[in-house]
Amino acid sequence: MAIETLVLGAGQEVGKSCVVVNINGKRIMFDCGMHMGYNDHRQFPDFSLISPSRNFNDALSCIIITHFHLDHVGALAYFTEVCGYSGPVYMTYPTKALAPLMLEDYRKVMVNRRGEEEQFTSDHIAECMKKVIAVDLKQTVQVDEDLEIRAYYAGHVIGAAMFYVKVGDAEMVYTGDYNMTPDRHLGAAQIDRLRLDLLITESTYATTIRDSKYAREREFLKAIHKCVSGGGKVLIPTFALGRAQELCILLEDYWERMNLKVPIYFSAGLTIQANMYYKMLIGWTSQKIKDTYSTHNAFDFKNVHKFERSMLDAPGPCVLFATPGMISGGFSLEVFKHWAPSENNLVTLPGYCLAGTVGHKLISGKSTNIDIDPDTQIDVRCQIHQLAFSPHTDSKGIMDLVKFLSPKHVILVHGEKPKMDSLKERIHSELEIPCYNPANNETVNIPSTNYVNAEASGTFIRNCLNPNFKFQKCNSVDTRDSTLIDRNLTPELQVEDERVADGVLVMESNKKAKIVHRDEVLLMLDEKKQEA
């Protein structure tokens, strides 16, 4: 028996996560993401490798989506509606609620703003979501007679989950993206101690060890506070879900504490709709936020108002969340055009922006002039703040998880090759666990656990439970070599309870193997005992 892992995406890269695992004859696709950096065929995983005949329903038992980010769910609608997969798709309740929003948002950006040919339509998204079965955390789902899956809290974004899969005696976990330290609105990843053959883990920060997130958050808040107290305007370009809510909770909290009255705005695309989902899904956030739901739902933002276009050039300080993130176009670009020329204003950007976006130009170069299009050039004088916190685990977190689970094999995905190589080496040398980091479209084969099934007689089991105490007196002679401390630790009388039973495995032709107690053997063999 073996587990065969085919990496279709996120192999030695970040983007289009997609791993197909064949485990005891069941084939499961973990994540079905798109690559945001490409516009050609490299955008989607190469699905033809799963089944050359493109008969995906026979080739796959199920699809599991870990969370709603586009690099994990982006290709799902394409795969189900265009490629024709119609089997079950599993994701958590929040992911099922939020993934269509992400897909729709992305589709709009692609079609309306970039003028590209659409790969899937709104109807495709709706149809696709009908195939999705929502699961709760720790709920053991029996996909079919042999295949069992279970979600564990991953903490990366709301609804993010690690998935445990069991087929026969073979067991594995696919982590998706996860965070081992709790953050302002989400808890830390949590998993049971399992007996795993394989762990497939992300490795975005394979070599980084991050300091406290709170320090980075303080930096962010300080920058904003400074800007608004100087009468400036703050632009926070984000996508509709996840980061927007996280930062907003941060700001709300700060606004309350500092008693600030400066308005916080959400642009029309973002909004109140997304917050509504968050309000209902508050059970999936951190304990602290969960505990306060009855008095005040943390996603009921008191200081947040809707932004009107007419306010663009209104005087006075404000904070504005605008879509899309990375200032890749649309409303956030429009605002940017208005606000960038003033040195009083501030733009905050995430640590990672795609090449080609305005955001990327802002964080990579020091140039003060940015060409938006051939006719427009902006003189950028505003301040730029780069967000330095990320909801991914750092290398210590990865090592902790691998150590905790102690799987027989580890496969690294979702990271950069040089960093992965060094983490692979660490796992190999420090934890003595074989580790692999396959590139895209490569396959890794590992053996899987297999148990021999037998029956055990009641007498044997009962005998195993018989206490078998051994009392050992430790006199001073035994301990004379040891140090004083040791002697204090060793009690005079040691009691051992090692329970031993004599078991005999009997295999009769045409019968199931059976373990019996030695006294029963004779009965089975119909023979008399011989003592000598």
Binding site: A97, K138, M280, Y293, L505, V506, R518, L525, D526, A532
Partner: protein, 688 residues
């Protein structure tokens, strides 16, 4: 497996309670309270009643003249609460596991958890725990009104429990207090405190549906939705010797809670059927005093039950339920249009939520502007909580999440001020906004405590007002303190279990090997021609032993260990035998055998087992090969058995070897000789 039914309960608010002993683990199934027993008490007296209260207390030489039930005969004292009587026969500290199947099943738990030596693991679904906690907190806060009125009593034993006091009570009340056989007096407990509830909640382990938890490595416990209430569940217990399903009250149709997940209960070794809801099916529903309710007769429809998996396809019931709700709402609206008020002391969450949505829609449609109040100390928290639990709700509600709507309409209604939520009747905001006529939802269904008492006193004389009640066993008694009642009364029966017609098809679908079925329902069902499973019947307070399991259990042997096996074959029988050396582990209800690298055990005793008869000819040949001269004679041993052979050896060693059927004895003076001979015998015998 040993199963004892401690109580068959009494409907929705008082679920059954059982004790199960399986794999040596003692499991208590549910710990409810019989809140209908509250009806033996008088509600907190008004100043007017206070007179009769004084009188009844002073007049010590009351005598039972006739069995007349009047408001005065109720007990005027701080109520105690009736727990499951037989539960007190068990030592609480010996219970290993408590499984709570519904929010109602948790109500009596603080009585157990506060006992000394209590150490059981309690498993409850997350939603049941939350709902149960709110219900208990509400009960404690409603009870506080009694405390305030009667004051703290020094004496621990209430006078009304004394035998002489019982004798003068009307028989109805006496039966409530002492039970039919007069044995239930021990079931009464004084109210627990808010601290007890808090302490109890800290001892609880919460679960999600279908989450596996393992007790002590032996028993894997899983909860599956039963559809009766949010968080309510049935259980699967999976031990090394097979699995048991516990089927509590279950509902095929639910408009709020997640649907009955019967598929997950399929194919178990034993199934405990504990849905007593059909017991009341044949009881006639008494109609309200002044009101005839056309829908309150048999509400369980003749089941149009199709195929084995078509339980949910039957939408008749669904439709009928909906019609019933619409009927109730239209009665209520008629009433308010007429200038009367409507009082709804219903405590079933599902019904309240549906009525609330239906009522407000109809009010809007009929352009009637009357306020709707919800009065309860926990209502606000409850309503907020209901909107953050999509995982526990039925499909239709979940769809609302996915389309970005609120799970229940009340969020919007609250915002639009169409409904008003207040913690109690004395709260400032409530009195300021109070308008009549109005529609009020409030606890408690027993009509003995909570806001309902005060409102009922206000409206009971008004023939224009309407009281909507759940199905009551004794309506007469329920309304006793409020007599004379001029107000209209509408009594409704809401289904809370598997209908009788569905029992058999359901069990056929579930395909258990054995079914434990209530004796009380025996006559209503017919399993005589049932061949796919066997049925044993259980009665209250009797232990039923079920030898459901085979003596052997499954064991998994690690492949690396199995590859090291050295097989010994017995040619005659075609049996392969191998002696085991490994570590036995119990994990998730399964035995595992792993490779053991610990030297201590492997070098341990090597007392081998030998079998087969010692072939004396082979033995002699062997001896001569070793250069030992030996002669054999047949003889008799002390017991006179003839089959003993005696071998004498002379040279080079002198020894006497007695060969019997089951033993061989070597007698010699030299220990070395003995060991040489021993080896020779050892070589010949089959060993294991």
């Amino acid at each position: 497996m040993k199963f004892t039914c401690l109580s068959k309960g009494r409907g929705f608010h008082f679920p059954p309670c059982h004790m199960l002993n399986c794999c040596g683990i003692r499991i208590l199934l549910d710990c409810p309270l019989d809140l209908s027993a509250l009806m033996a008490f008088s509600p907190v007296p008004t100043s007017l009643d206070a007179f009769s209260f004084e009188e009844s207390n002073n007049n010590e030489k009351r005598q039972k003249i006739e069995d007349l039930l009047e408001a005065k005969s109720l007990i005027f004292a701080e109520p105690w609460y009736k727990t499951v009587n037989s539960l007190h026969l068990w030592n609480a500290s010996l219970i290993d596991v408590i499984l709570i199947s519904s929010p109602m099943g948790i109500m009596g738990l603080p009585f157990l958890t506060r006992r000394k030596g209590f150490s059981a693991k309690i498993y409850v679904t997350l939603a049941s725990a939350r709902l149960g906690q709110l219900m208990m907190e509400d009960l404690v806060s409603m009870h506080a009104e009694f405390r305030q009125f009667y004051g703290l009593k020094e004496s621990n034993f209430p006078p009304w429990l004394r035998q002489e006091e019982l004798e003068i009570l009307p028989s109805v009340l006496k039966e409530i207090l002492a039970g039919k056989d007069g044995v239930e007096l021990g079931a009464w407990m004084p109210m627990y405190s808010a601290a007890d509830v808090k302490d109890c909640m800290l001892k609880i382990n919460t679960l999600n549906y279908a989450q596996e938890v393992c007790y002590n490595g032996t028993l894997v416990i899983k909860a599956f939705s039963s559809g009766v209430e949010i968080g309510s569940c049935n259980w699967i217990l999976n031990g090394p010797k097979g699995d048991i399903a516990y089927l509590s009250n279950s509902c095929f149709f639910s408009a709020h809670a997640m649907a009955f997940d019967y598929r997950s209960l399929r194919g178990t070794c034993a199934l405990i059927y504990s849905d007593f809801s059909s017991l009341s099916d044949t009881q006639d529903i008494e109609d309200g005093d002044n009101y005839t309710d056309p829908t309150s007769d048999k509400l369980l429809p003749p089941s149009s039950f199709q195929d084995s998996d078509g339980f949910n396809l039957n939408s008749d019931e669904d439709l009928e339920e909906k019609e019933k709700l619409v009927f109730i709402c239209s009665c209520a609206i008629e009433c308010v249009k007429d200038g009367g008020s409507v009082l709804i002391p219903i405590n079933r969450l599902g019904t309240i939520l549906q009525l609330l949505e239906e009522m407000t829609t109809l009010l809007e449609a009929s352009a009637t502007e009357v306020p709707v109040y919800i009065i309860s100390s926990v209502a606000e928290e409850l309503l907020v909580w209901l909107n953050i639990i999509p995982e526990w709700l039925c499909k239709q509600r979940q769809e609302r999440l996915f389309s970005g709507e609120f799970l229940f309409a009340h969020v919007k209604l609250l915002k639009e001020k169409k409904i008003h939520v207040v913690p109690d009747i004395h709260s400032h905001g409530f009195l300021k906004n109070w308008r009549e006529p109005c529609i009020v939802f409030c606890p408690h269904w027993s009509l003995r405590m909570g806001p309902v008492v005060h409102l009922l006193r206000r409206w009971c004389g008004d023939p224009k007002s309407l009281l909507i009640l759940e199905d009551m066993e004794n309506l007469e008694l329920a309304l006793l303190p409020f007599k004379p009642v001029a107000m209209k009364v509408l009594q409704c029966l809401f289904p809370s279990g598997i209908g009788l017609q569905k029992v058999q098809p359901l069990l056929k679908t579930l395909q258990p090997k054995t079914v434990l079925f209530p004796e009380d329902l025996r006559l209503k069902t017919n399993f005589s021609c049932e061949k796919s499973f066997s049925v044993s019947y259980y009665t209250e307070a009797e232990t039923l032993k079920v030898s459901r399991q085979k003596d052997s259990s499954e064991i998994k042997i690690a492949a690396d260990l199995a590859s090291q096996f050295y097989w010994k074959t017995f040619k005659k029988e075609g049996i392969n035998v191998n002696r085991l050396k490994g570590k036995l582990l119990m994990e998730n209800g399964r035995h595992h055998l792993f490779l053991d690298n610990d030297k201590k055990t492997s070098s341990g005793n090597s007392s081998l087992l030998r079998c087969g008869l010692l072939d004396s000819n082979k033995f002699l040949a062997k001896l001569s090969k070793m250069g030992i001269n030996a002669s054999m004679e047949r003889g008799t041993d002390d017991a006179g058995s003839t089959n003993v052979r005696i071998v004498h050896t002379e040279k080079p060693y002198k020894a006497l070897i007695e060969i019997g059927n089951t033993s061989t004895a070597i007698t010699t003076v030299d220990a070395n000789v003995a060991s040489i001979l021993y080896k020779a015998i050892d070589n010949i015998l089959d060993e294991v």
